[in-house]
Amino acid sequence: MTSHPDLPRETFRLRMLIFDTRYRSLTIQIVTLAGFMLLVSWMISNTVQNLAELGKPIEFGFLGNQAQYDINQTLIAYTSRDTHLRAAVVGLLNTLLVAFLGCALATVMGVTIGVLRLSRNWLVARLMTVYVELFRNVPVLLWILFFMAILIESLPPPNAFRGEDATASMLLGDSVALTNRGFYIPEPLFSRSLGDLSVFGAFEISLDLVAFLAVLAAGLWVSARIRARADRIQNRTGLRPTTWYLRLGVVVLPLLILLAALGFHLGYPELRGFNFRGGIYMRNSLIALWLALSFYTAAFIAEIVRGGILAISKGQTEAAAALGLRPNRIMSLVILPQALRVIIPPLISQYLNLTKNSSLAIAVGYMDITGTLGGITMGQTGRELECVLLMMLFYLAISLVISTAMNWYDARVRLVER
């Protein structure tokens, strides 16, 4: 194939922009881009003009000003003399906290309910159906308000614990107090504490926690090695050594030793003054939000789990059973690996939904990012544009991270097809 009568190069004419498939898509894209840019720049110029008229040019300097308000729930040190920026960071961490707690509880509940919905027990299956339908067909905002109201109305106030004729008492040997302000649980204390580590002078991280995590990680690593060894032995001899006590031991024992070395003891909450003092205090707002988000999301997760398990056809279980596999092995070797592929992607998008729904925290006064940056800060400084922009950026960043994780997982586990 040496030469072929090639097309004579056509000279360009204007109508080719529209009628020639080669240039056509270029035209469309340029028109679209131009239209989009026009729209955006029109809106930006309007905004600039409007804000100039109001005398509020866009600037973020206000973040450096004193916030002047207090926040009850903080993961890092904060006082009303700190800046708006720090208040925003407090809110951000609070969002992440409730999102994390919510995802964890929702997963546990969702999986349990999803599995129970498939139970052969008629009553249990029906009850779970009622649960799922009830929770997913009522707005989450109402659930949040409901849970808050239930906590407030049904639990005793701290002063009911007081005095001779106390109407309420602490649980578990006076270590846990459930009040309508929140739950007080014992806190870990260390009599030989390692102290705190200051990061950039802005945050303090407890060295005890760091040490704990380090030992835990080491324990888990050793445990994984033991498992790998068990795998090797099984491959060689066919017999799998029983290792669970060993694996548990290497994780738990060093931790116990570390705790003993640090002088670990529990600080119990006790009623002093108006409130309980000491212990870890989980406020109502956090608990209500946490429970409502988890219960609501669990209904969706339950459906996902149920769908995932149903998607693994009955045939898979039967085939595995016919090979003589025991039910627990069927679960771990055949059903779970397959069901997880179906379950995890929608599960992750439920996590994303939960995180986004946590922005309803303001309904119960939990100081997440919409409560601090998008709430009090915005109200006090009148910087709506800047605050909303920052909030959106934060949520976008979260969803970007989560969807990247999901895509990665998706690509990793996709079943090989023809």
């Binding site: 898979q316 090979l323 003589g324």
Partner: protein, 259 residues
Amino acid sequence: MSDPVIDPSRPAVSEEVAIDILGMNKWYGAFHVLRDINLTIYKGERIVVCGPSGSGKSTLIRCINRLEDHQAGRIVVEGIELTSDLKHIDQVRSEVGMVFQQFNLFPHLTILENCTLAPIWVRKVPRREAVDIAMSYLEKVRIPEQANKYPGQLSGGQQQRVAIARALCMRPNIMLFDEPTSALDPEMIKEVLDTMIALAEEGMTMICVTHEMGFARQVANRVIFMDQGQIVEQNAPEAFFNAPRSDRTRLFLSQILGH
């Protein structure tokens, strides 16, 4: 009808009993699926079960490895009675291999892993040995080169042959087949039947639900015809096909062989 093709090498049947079913009854709720089944199968026998749809063929063989439980009567497999005792069920299941209509391969495992899974976890065979066994059976079903592919990448016929190899890897004494070819295209049916014929020639005890009458003539010692949850007729294949004694059998055969 032409003369039945009888394979001269058809191995003889021993005296030992492989499966003994005595007055077995099964209900689904109030629906009486299996009615008073009495059946003795000897080692090395190849039984073909046929009958109209819904007659309980699948249920019968699923009872034999206790994928379903029966409510009355006894089933004794290789001397072990099937009760709700888990130990017995496990023993029986590792003696009995089963091949399903829908293959039911594990799509997340490679062909090789499909075949070694049960030997490793149930029989506690060292992995290397399990792989050797698996490869030998994959060679027997003539697809050793596919060992590292996933089920989704294979054709239906290949998948069904893998399913057979997977069951064989447990070195069962008895094989159950539930319409192994009915989900396959015609050209694939042949490759699967060939595999099964080869297996029969080695003297494996087999119970096979199928409507492939050619296969039945070629390998079966006995053909069982079921209807409405009962064994209506059983006989050697030539007698069964040439001189069916019951009206129902005749009707069924005329329908099946009609085209």
